[in-house]
Amino acid sequence: MNFLSKFNWIRHGLLTIGIMIVGTVIVAALTAPIISPYSPYDLDVTMMLQAPSADHWLGTDELGRDVLSRTIFASQISIQVALVAVSVGVIGGTIIGVLAAYFGGVTDLILMRLMELLFSFPAILLAIVLMASLGTSILNAMIAIGIIFIPGFARLARATTVEAMQQQYIEAARSVGMSHSRILIIEIMPNVITPLLVEAAVAFAYAVLLESALSFLGLGAQPPEPSWGNMLNTGRGFMAQAPWLSIMPGMALFFCVLGFNLLGDGLRDMLDPHLRD
């Protein structure tokens, strides 16, 4: 708590805004069943494509479902997918990158060429190919997005590890008799973790976007499961009659991605040890 009271919220303004937006999204996802006024699945054919009103603050969709409730519930999918995908990317990428840097030579060559192979595909295309071979489900979407992230994290982890290993304090650590694993964990990891954390926050934004893109294409969350992506896809057909169908999930997506990006940038400024006071 000492940390919180010392933290300069004004100086890290963007970070503060990022935390607020991300916090809102996470709270919405966690409390979705409590805060949403209706069930996201309940149909009401008498209330199809209703404009926003006191009963339905953000209107209803083509099957009479409450758009606000669906948007709130969709945040669950987004956060879930992003969390799993980024974890897969960070863990897989860090292990591959650190091992490549630490052992060097042939290991490095093979691992990094493999990563470059993955990197050379456009993300969406790779996701579609992976989904096509894994089958369309939300779990497979998480894995596919995670795999897309691995090369980026691996390269970052490798670069920072290589840089850290050339530092004289690694030599100094050897001179006080530390073992390889202790050097990796105590001396190298703290130097590697900061850029990875920042990258993870940015990747989170990208994962949310990718999940929506996959769902938009019908490869991610399957109806009636609400997702910002498939809501946008549905809304596309009713742009003229019921623009609220697209606007709400679009805005949610926009702010969520913005929030994670601000969080990433803010973290980078804050975690740089040379800027600590």
Partner: protein
């Protein structure tokens, strides 16, 4: 008294040590057949130009030779413990415990992401299985003992918040944490200004006086050696060319290389004749002249210098490897 000093048990005993880089015909012998002894509580200077092999020799003692370098002959004993016969794991376990290194550049040797207190206490946690809390409290004590003001506060700071002298003192505190038998100081004062340098030297002397620690002080700065060391080894191109007590080395330098080094050092009370540089450069390990390796730069070289130099006793414990030392009579 000198004999008594010699009889004391030696902390470090290096005998006929050679270290080579590479293999076969391409190998370069960087440290060539050196022998060196450090008694308990003794401060020994190892002087030489850049590239003379002094750092490689110290790395061989630590068991941290870079990839491609290996010991080809000789023995290294730490208080009668034959280090070269031990496993890598064993040697790692005594680094930072029984032998500590004080590196040249303290800032770059401290991890920028770690608080100083934790780094100073780290060897205790590592080698003595001390808890982090104990290591930290001990670190504060150590930081106080190296005259750092406000050690409680300072131990919570990061290395970049320290000045150069404070960083170097923190490194010394870290080196002392396990009360090692041998402290290897590799040019610890090179990066510091003169007043801070004097403080660090005082500190090292105090360490020796309080803990009876043996110190191997590696440097190219003769002023520092005169100030601090008990005995001196002069190294040139991988070999020791002269050894002796510090006062004798300075009052009666008995190798043309040592004389050259002294002539190339500015002095306040010297005649204003300018400095005399040693002509030429230190030879590459595979291009050394036959016999005395200083002969191609030596003003006194004779054809006989092409034979392998032998130790010639000049005074009490004072040995020169120059064949002409008697006739040149230490005049410089």
């Amino acid at each position: 008294m000198k004999i008594e000093a010699n009889k004391r048990s030696s902390t470090l005993e290096i005998e006929n040590l050679s270290v080579a880089f590479g293999q076969g015909s391409k190998s370069a012998v960087v440290v060539d057949n050196i022998s060196l002894k450090i008694g308990k509580g003794e401060i020994v200077g190892l002087i030489g130009e850049s590239g003379s092999g002094k750092t490689v020799a110290s790395l061989a003692v630590l068991g941290m030779l870079p990839r491609g370098a290996k010991v080809v002959q000789g023995s290294i004993k730490l208080t009668n413990d034959p280090l070269l016969e031990r496993t890598d794991d064993y040697r790692r376990s005594i680094r930072g415990d029984r032998i500590a290194l004080i590196p040249q550049d303290a800032l770059r040797s401290l991890n920028p992401t770690g608080k100083v207190g934790y780094q100073v206490g780290e060897p205790l946690n590592l080698h003595r299985s001390a808890s982090w809390a104990f290591a930290r409290s001990k670190a504060i004590e150590l930081l106080r003992s190296v005259n750092l003001s406000d050690p409680e506060l300072r131990s919570e700071e990061y290395p970049h918040q320290f000045s150069g002298g404070m960083q170097q003192r923190a490194m010394i505190a870290m080196g002392l944490s396990t009360e090692p038998e041998l402290l290897i100081a590799d040019e610890p004062t090179t990066a510091l200004d003169v007043t801070v340098q004097a403080q660090v030297l005082d500190l090292l002397r105090a360490v020796r006086d309080q803990h009876d620690t043996s110190i191997l002080f590696i440097t190219h700065d003769l002023g520092v050696v005169a100030n601090l060391c008990d005995r001196v080894y002069v190294m040139y191109s991988g070999a020791i060319v002269e050894e002796g007590p510090v006062d004798q080395i300075f009052s009666n330098p008995s190798h043309p290389y040592t004389q050259g080094l002294l002539d190339a050092t500015p002095r306040i009370h010297g005649a204003m004749t300018g400095l005399t540089p040693i002509p030429g450069q230190i030879p590459l390990p595979n291009k050394r002249p036959v016999g005395c390796r200083f002969s191609d730069r030596c003003l006194f070289a004779l054809p006989q210098c092409a034979s392998t130099p032998k130790p010639i006793t000049v005074g009490d414990n004072h040995i020169s490897y120059c064949l002409r030392v008697k006739e040149l009579g230490g005049s410089s």
